[in-house]
Subunit: 334 residues, 4 copies
């Protein structure tokens, strides 16, 4: 029997995780209306997924659309060659999105960097915006002098509700009405469901950004319905809840013990056989009233966020401008 | 005979300087349609000026409106008590603007921090925005729970054309249409006409911001005509041209020598008796082709801009929220 | 039966926690040779502890000496009045250390800010150093003109081994030999044993800093034996291990369930009755090989570290200079 | 007739400029005991100079030793390819210094970044230090595992007197005694004598750093005599005095006018024929009492200092480690 995802409160921003959670409650691993393929090479695993109809969407708890996930477990090691390969791979996947949506070489694009630039783990969007090759003003001011191989690109970091007093989606809407781009790319930091995801996973989705996802309540939604133009969302998990760490780790502990013993009941009691959701619920009930269910981030977040921000900006610059390819892409970010 | 200011290319963003320049070319120091008064106390000189009609406006080269200038020659010394007095004084002057425009205690205000946050001498606007007490979202989300003594205040730093690809005035317009404030306050760094002005002078004007003023061409204009609501501009000179330093210094040298000799002609030849405009023109003709007519800023700009940004934010917080007074104002900035 | 602490691998930098851990394994709560008193007021709990002899030291696993802990559970709320009270309280406690060591009003003091200024949760030391009122050079260059009420204070941030290539204790030793202070104050970020400690607790100890404590291996030791002058250490927990979060949370879960049921065995099995050390060991065995036993820090670390750095600098400025008191202390930090 | 340089108060940190100034007062352009050669290619002019004896030293006002200057007028344009060429060129010149001094491939090197990291135009040294490939700790902790092609390199930013309370030369001396390097490389920001020099010129000298040079009085001297090991100084002019701008510009104006007229006397009077020193003196006499003889820096200093800091770090990394060459050098800085 299928379960409705609304029962789960293990909400995740990653379609890949949502699919795994949905699959847990089901007898058959097949979800009709869901297509996906996975490819691994050189330390990067790319999963392309399509949620093809509303039934699959409701089972998985994600909108109908295309989702691509790049998983790079070693991304936190600071290996610059791996980082370049990830940028190249991201550019290639992103170009497929552009083609599918029908964005031509001359279409105008607005990159929106969501999040708070003064809160390091939330600064992904603003960092990407800083490193985007912005060209729209050249097309406006001296259209005859722009070299071939570029398109009009603009980029803004609208800030967050707590520091501007205005919903960032309202700010973006206002700007879209003036700048009239053909496509929005919204970059944002996400909350992870497991430690291994933090700063190692990039998700691209053509569904835009929906209310209620992401870290905190900073987003009222950036979708084609609201903005009038398509919106591709790029997200990276950079934080996770203390309760998520506990839940996720206990899972690993249970799995670990199962390798050593047939019966883990004496070891962990009822706790060990609880549904993941129930267990998470219990942990939250304890931590929340104490004010201890903090969102946390790795100690080295300053470096991680800088690195992954540069990767995404490099990937976007290469994907958006034909004249910028995956060899010279690094020169355009700092 | 009156001179049209368009002859002068000694453009200045300060009405006080524009008036002085205009007065130089005139037989009578009186400009009809111009009212002004000056008050000095505790190291702060406040000049209140009103350009009352178009004739005065064209003579001075500034729009009809009210201008207040705070001159604080010792502001670069880092004296925190003086800084507090300037914030208090600014708040008082600003409140007079609010009353005159008819902004009531419940009117909504949007503070716009113009300029590039990554270019220190141009970061005044973004720094002020960071330190503004933002409250609009509380009024939107839980209007019943907002304490008395506050008004809805929002704040944005729209970035500059070179990094967003969009005119900042277009961005502001888009936001204004969504957030619907009753008043805009636009904060920006200016170019000074003399070294003594740099980081020592604050100008408040109810004329908004007009194309062509300020450092560089980042501003298409923020005026009541464009935005539909009044716009008060707050500016501080933070940079000046190398040519301006030369011209301004040579003036000081000539004045200095006049104290010692009746006839400075043998000393400085024709150069000494040139019109200021001509002399500046000559200096520019020499420096410009070499790429040497740089905009420069004092070595200690990081500290200066932080200090003056805090002063303005403190002054605005006190002027905008009745519950914030000039004693507790410092607590709201960092 | 007493247990030797070396059995525990629940290492903690806080004497308060070390004492609690030691007490867990004992029949009597009294540890001979340990004196302590606790005082709570206005949201601040101050615990003064003295480890009086080697026997108590070995039981607790901390050096003979004085330890003062300020616990301020609400410190993460950003309440500026509470922050001022903590600075005042810290200054008072610190002055008692100065008196006990025999530091007179004219003794020279060197503040050492340990840690990496580019890694936010490790930047506590460098941030404190930036806000210390440095005066030593005035005493060296113009001793006659220094106002009464000040002592010679110098301050350095020696960096960390990974970025300098030199042990920070070697750097400090070299500087001490040249600057010849009478006292060293070493400020450092610590690893916490529980989430509630992170950025809410300040420890002052007259034992200096010992090899092996703190985050990472950046410290070879700053002690009177090595430096030739006394060293007071000030530490704040800013990070904790993922495994610690799990262990600490499971404790809270067990306690929580004990309130609801007499017998938690069916609920948690053997896991629930494990020694804390064993349980932590198990969690680490699972997380470590996966590279998931990360050190993490709260999402809002940028703000927390800035706030607590200012509190400590304010407290030290007031304690070190008679002319700076707890009313005007805030003016000396930014 | 030769002039003694002590007469000039047009002090400059650049040997190249000192030589030009000395040459102005002389009938023959030849200074005995001075050797120099100049080479230009690809937008970079390299001048190699040797002051061979005390007589030449006293004429020029610089110490006996080798000086290399890289002049790159277009360095402020932000051209990344030019920046790479400058790094490569600097590495090549620097290697010649290493060979001449007899620094072998295994000799240990300490890079000292002088200046104040919080004052942008003075932050060159700290920025270079941040980007140096530090390896000394690997040689200390696991000498057997270091790959060939590296030498022990350490790096410190000692801060400035105003923020540490200790002379930076005292701090460096203390560190040298502990870390025992075979060579010191001291990087510092300088004051320029002309606008065209600011952020476009790099000087390398094997004379160390002498009291009284540089911006402000932050340097007591870093020389072989004081430190016991050789010291190579690398400097870049990043600021200049307002009075220097005036003097330098008036020179350009005079030269400009000479192209148009035979007799500039009517144009500029006595002022036009003054010795440069006298004229500068006059300008200073006027500006100084007003507090207007500020040190200024270009508006874009944040970007300039970042770029030139990366160039110097890249050049040093390539010159110091054989395994790092001028192709992969950029990967080691950010």
């Amino acid at each position: 029997m299928d379960k409705d995802l609304s029962m789960y409160n293990i909400r995740t921003d990653l379609a890949l995780e949502a699919k795994e959670i949905a699959a847990q409650g089901m007898q058959s691993p097949e979800i009709p209306g869901l297509w996906s393929e996975t490819e691994s090479a050189d330390g990067i695993t790319v999963t392309r997924m399509e949620i093809q109809n509303e039934q699959a969407a409701s089972q998985i708890g994600k909108m109908v659309g295309h989702y691509v996930t790049l998983e790079v477990p070693d991304l936190r090691q600071g290996d610059t060659e791996l980082q370049d390969r990830v940028a190249t791979s991201m550019a290639k996947e992103f170009e497929a999105f552009l083609r599918r949506i029908g964005i031509t070489a001359s279409s105008s694009v607005l990159v929106v960097g969501l999040g708070n630039g003064s809160v390091t783990p939330d600064a992904l969007g603003p960092i990407v915006v800083e490193n985007i090759m912005v060209t729209r003003h050249f097309f406006e001011l001296m259209p005859d002098q722009v070299n071939p191989g570029y398109r009009p690109v603009s980029a803004v970091a609208p800030g967050v509700l707590g520091t501007t007093g205005i919903e960032s989606s309202d700010i973006v809407q206002g700007i879209v009405e003036k700048a009239k781009p053909d496509l929005i790319i919204a970059v944002d930091a996400l909350a992870a469901k497991s430690l291994e995801r933090v700063n190692t996973t990039i998700q691209i989705a053509d569904t835009g950004i929906h209310p209620g996802s992401g870290i905190g309540n900073k987003r009222k939604g950036l979708t084609k319905e609201i903005l009038g133009v398509p919106c591709i969302a790029i997200g990276v998990p950079t934080v996770l809840y203390a309760s998520t760490i506990v839940n996720n780790t206990m899972d690993l502990v249970f799995e670990h013990m199962k390798k050593h013993t047939d019966n883990t009941a004496p070891m962990f009691g009822a706790f060990g056989t609880m549904e993941e959701t129930e267990r998470l619920q219990l942990v939250r009930e304890v931590l929340h009233p104490l004010g201890h269910d903090l969102l946390v981030t790795p100690k080295e977040i300053d470096k991680f966020i800088e690195d992954i921000g540069n990767i995404i900006a490099s990937g976007l610059n290469a994907a958006l401008h034909e004249a910028v390819n995956t060899d010279n892409v690094a020169a355009y970010t700092h």
